[in-house]
Structure formats: structure tokens, C-alpha cells
């Protein structure tokens, strides 16, 4: 088995659960400024349930692990983050070929494409897509350039953060924040913020080669 086995992806998922729990109030705070004040609560509930599901039934392989996370997010979270993060992990699970960095990058992109298809958001609509698409691009480019996966994920996490920050001054065009019109400008998008945590968790946990 290559570097990205079930254990490695499990560590990533657990780190993400820990991060959303740590940033739970901050995410809800961001959401109360331009949304409906539940993003941190929902992500915490969903990822905690996902980790509990992995503990209850240890997955047979990496694809099964991602599918468990997906189905838990879809069935426990509701709102928009449930179907969107659920779709991300589900598409990633379906696309995961082997444990190579290139396969991980391709699966990550498949997950992001799923989010775009489900949510119908484009770049600069001020959503999680503004963090995820640049991250997928940076990841693919770095892996193709022959970088180690940890360095490639570092580049992806930085691109996600840059993407999140780049849309902060913009007016939201999707989701509940869009109802604010001009008043949404100047606020960090909560979905982009939780998406940065996802990529950051991958960068801090997944091995280099």
C-alpha cells in the first residue's frame, strides 16, 4: 500500500473534525454576520458524527472511509454544508484510484468538481468554491511538478487561504449571504473558512511521499 492508506486519510478526517470543533464558534460567528449563525454548529455535529461512525465500523479501505464520512455528512448535517461536504467526500471516494499523490490530487479535484456541480457556484460567488478550486489547482500543479505530497498540500492550503481572503471584499452571489447584497462585502465567507481548514488539515497530517 502506498503512502495514502486508510490510516493516513483517517488521520486527515480526524484532524479536520478537531479543527472544526476548535473553530466552531469562530465559524458560527462568521455565519451570523452574513448567514444564519449555524455553520460552526453544523460542521461540528457532522464531523463529530463522522468520526464516531469510523470508530464504530472501521472502514475496509480508503474509499470506504471517505464514503462513510460523506454519508454521515449528508444524513446528519442538513443545510448546505451537509450536501456540499457530503458530495465532496463521496466524489473523492469514487475517484480514489491508488495511494499515490497524483491519485489523491485527482480525487481531490473530483470532490471539488462535485461541490461545483451540486452548488452551481462559480469563482467569486463568495463560497467554499473560492477556497477549494484554487487549492485543487495548486495541488495538481505541484504534484505534476514532482513535489512531495506534503509540500504540494502546503501550496494547496496556502492557495485556499488566499482564495478565501480574496473574496472577502466581494459581494456574495450564492447562499443566504447573497441576500445581504452590498452588506456582505468585507466579511469572510464561512464556507470558504471551513474549506481552508479542510485543506490545512490535509497539509498538516498527510505524509510527504
Amino acid at each position: 500500500m502506498a503512502a495514502l492508506d486508510t490510516d493516513a486519510l483517517g488521520t486527515w478526517v480526524r484532524e479536520y473534525a478537531r479543527a472544526v470543533t476548535e473553530h466552531r464558534e469562530e465559524l458560527t460567528e462568521l455565519d451570523s454576520a452574513i448567514g444564519d449563525a449555524d455553520h460552526g454548529t453544523n460542521m461540528h455535529r457532522g464531523m463529530t458524527a463522522a468520526v464516531a461512525a469510523l470508530d464504530a465500523t472501521p472502514p475496509a479501505d480508503a474509499a470506504a472511509l471517505l464514503k462513510t464520512v460523506a454519508m454521515t455528512m449528508i444524513s446528519k448535517v442538513g443545510g448546505t454544508s451537509g450536501p456540499l461536504y457530503g458530495t465532496f467526500f463521496l466524489r473523492m471516494s469514487g475517484a480514489l484510484d491508488d495511494g499515490s499523490p497524483a491519485a489523491f490530487a485527482a480525487a481531490f479535484r473530483a470532490g471539488v468538481d462535485g461541490v461545483v456541480a451540486r452548488g452551481k457556484a462559480e469563482l467569486e460567488d463568495k463560497t467554499m468554491v473560492d477556497a477549494l478550486l484554487p487549492a485543487a489547482d495548486a495541488l495538481t500543479a505541484a504534484v505534476e511538478a514532482g513535489q512531495e505530497l506534503d509540500a504540494a498540500l502546503r501550496a494547496a492550503a496556502d492557495a485556499a487561504a488566499t482564495g478565501r481572503d480574496s473574496v472577502t471584499p466581494l459581494v456574495a452571489r450564492k447562499g443566504r449571504a447573497s441576500y445581504l447584497g452590498e452588506r456582505s462585502a468585507g466579511h469572510v465567507d464561512p464556507g470558504a473558512a471551513s474549506a481552508v481548514l479542510l485543506v490545512e488539515a490535509a497539509a498538516t497530517t498527510l505524509p510527504g511521499s
Binding site: G78, R118, G175
Partner: protein, 333 residues
């Protein structure tokens, strides 16, 4: 935060237990958080399923019963229910005549109902048609937003499509009634105070003492603008002006005028508003054929109201007057 709850995490489950205890005529699936008509599935009848975040009571669970919904899915407070719930509701009300999903236009609700419809299609032969309500004129730029929100007209869709289904009409016709009602209805709301989501523990937005939010959404989403608090007479004008500008309500058989409380406004004040609404409509040449006044689609303890106008005709008036027996609306039975 002062609330009559046990634990913020248990609010929805505890409330459903209360509904089950208070309404033995309903059947409540606690695991899936679905409120069913006690006699569902009703043979030969199109099933009506709605649902959404909790915190808008009596919407939707309070509208389950004869002449309205067959099932309602309860999400977390202000959070769409999940596809599993909608699948359980859809399968539980399907009597072979198909199922209508009534969905308020919020990104999460639409996405989760879409996923549920895909799952139902994959698992069974149940025919599902979805009608999305989007009557909130406060949202001005539909092209660059998630579109107009589904608000007050949803209650009217549930009543009128519910009556059509009760008459034994086929799915296509019931869906057509729902679509027509949504297309002919417009709403606008306002808030005097914020609401507090139990899990958040503090008010969703700050509204200074002397100001009100015009065009507010039912989750405390901001509206068109903040203005100084004004007498009910002026508030009625401010709410009706954009509604009347959006659709011509004059002529024909008149309108159904619905003054809805947001949860924290007493009925006394809602009638004060209704009197002013009636006066503004009379001046604008709009005839009121039917009315509804009360808190039917709330936003927790938010103080404020919304006004919904629906153009009606003989058929819609007949469907409105048809018998209904639910926890929150009941007449003619």
C-alpha cells in the same frame, strides 16, 4: 438567553415529543423527525410533503392533517432537514398517486430535497414533483443572489394544493395549483427585534432600539434596509408598496390577504396591522376576498410581521374554504 427549553441540543426532539403527546391524531417518526398524518398513506391521494428548518412553527408540522400536508420533515433550528428524512416522509405518504414536495427557496432546502428526490427515484418507482416557493419581494436582484426566498405564500400553497389533493386530483394538477399559487403570491416582511437560535445563545443580529429591519427573512437574514420604527399605518404602506409594485393585484376576484406574525408579536398588533393593510389595499383598488391573520410562519421569538397577497379566483377560493383539520389551521370539519 432565556428560553423554555431543557438543552439547546434537544430542542427539536423535545418539541416533537410534545407534538406527539398533544396530537394523537398525528403519527410522529421520532427517529427521522417526520410528522405524519395519522392515516397516511391515504389511498388514491397524492401525498404532500414539506419540511424545513425548525423555528418557524407552526410551519410545517402544524399543517399536517386532512386538507393540507401528509408529512413534514423537521430540521435543526433554521437548518434544512436531510435527505434521509425526506425519503422516509416520501415513502411513508406514497399511496401510488405520487408525491408533491413543497420546498421553500433556500439553497440548503433545495439541495437536500433534490438529493432526496434522486434517492427516491433510485430506490422506488414513486413519482415525485417538486414545487419551490419564492415569493419574497425583499430580494431585489434575483440574478445575482440565490433568488427570492420562500416565505408566507408557502402556507397558502400547503393549504390550497392540500385541498386539491384531498379532492383526489392527479399529481400534475395538484402541482399546477401549487405553482400557480406561488406565481400569483408576493410577500414582504419586517422585524422589530432579532431572534436567538438556541445553539448560538445570542441574538442573530443587532437592531438598535429605534430601528426596524424592512424586508427581513425568516431566519433573521437582513432585508432591504433599516429604517426608524414607524406607526403601523406607515409600516403597512412600506410592506405593501413593493408587493403592489411587483404584481398587479387589482381586478379579478380579488386577493387573499395574509398578515403573518414572526413569533414575538401579539395578535393584538397583527390586527392593528391588518386594519392598515385593508385600508391601503382599498385605496389601491384591491379587493380582499379572504384573509388570514396570525403567527403561522415564525422566526423563533422575532417581533415583526409579514404581509402576503395572493391573487385568487373562484377555484382558489373554493380550495381555501375547503375543510382543513391540522394543529394550526382547522375549519369546515
Amino acid at each position: 438567553m432565556k428560553k423554555l427549553i431543557n438543552d439547546p441540543a434537544d430542542v427539536v426532539d423535545d418539541a416533537l415529543r410534545g407534538m406527539a403527546a398533544a396530537h394523537p391524531e398525528l403519527r410522529i417518526d421520532a427517529e427521522h423527525r417526520v410528522v405524519f398524518r395519522g392515516d397516511a398513506p391515504v389511498a388514491g391521494k397524492v401525498g404532500l410533503v414539506s419540511g424545513g428548518g425548525s423555528g418557524h412553527e407552526p410551519l410545517h408540522g402544524g399543517f399536517v392533517g386532512l386538507g393540507m400536508l401528509d408529512a413534514a420533515c423537521a430540521g435543526e433550528v433554521f437548518t434544512s432537514p436531510v435527505p434521509d428524512q425526506m425519503v422516509a416522509a416520501t415513502q411513508g405518504v406514497d399511496a401510488g398517486a405520487g408525491v408533491l414536495h413543497i420546498v421553500k427557496n433556500y439553497t440548503g432546502d433545495v439541495m437536500n430535497f433534490e438529493m432526496a428526490a434522486e434517492l427516491v427515484a433510485a430506490e422506488s418507482g414513486t413519482e415525485v414533483v417538486a414545487v419551490v416557493t419564492d415569493d419574497d419581494v425583499a430580494v431585489q436582484d434575483s440574478l445575482y443572489t440565490a433568488g427570492r426566498r420562500g416565505v408566507g405564500v408557502t402556507v397558502l400553497v400547503e393549504k390550497l394544493a392540500g385541498a386539491a389533493a384531498e379532492e383526489g386530483r392527479p399529481l400534475a394538477e395538484v402541482a399546477e395549483v401549487a405553482r400557480r399559487v406561488n406565481g400569483q403570491g408576493r410577500s414582504m416582511g419586517m422585524a422589530l427585534t432579532s431572534c436567538t437560535v438556541p445553539s448560538a445563545g445570542k441574538p442573530t443580529f443587532d437592531l438598535p432600539a429605534g430601528e426596524m429591519e424592512l424586508g427581513v427573512g425568516i431566519h433573521g437574514e437582513p432585508g432591504r434596509r433599516r429604517v426608524p420604527v414607524a406607526p403601523a399605518r406607515e409600516v403597512a404602506e412600506m410592506l405593501l408598496e413593493p408587493v403592489l409594485a411587483d404584481l398587479d393585484f387589482t381586478g379579478g376576484d380579488g386577493v387573499l390577504a395574509f398578515v403573518n406574525g414572526m413569533g414575538g408579536t401579539p395578535l393584538l398588533e397583527l390586527y392593528v396591522v391588518y386594519a392598515e393593510v385593508q385600508a391601503v389595499l382599498a385605496k389601491a383598488g384591491v379587493t380582499v376576498a379572504r384573509s388570514l391573520v396570525g403567527s403561522y410562519m415564525t422566526s423563533l421569538e422575532m417581533a415583526g410581521c409579514s404581509v402576503t397577497l395572493l391573487k385568487v379566483d373562484d377555484e382558489l377560493i373554493r380550495l381555501w374554504d375547503a375543510p382543513v383539520r391540522t394543529p394550526a389551521l382547522r375549519w369546515g370539519v
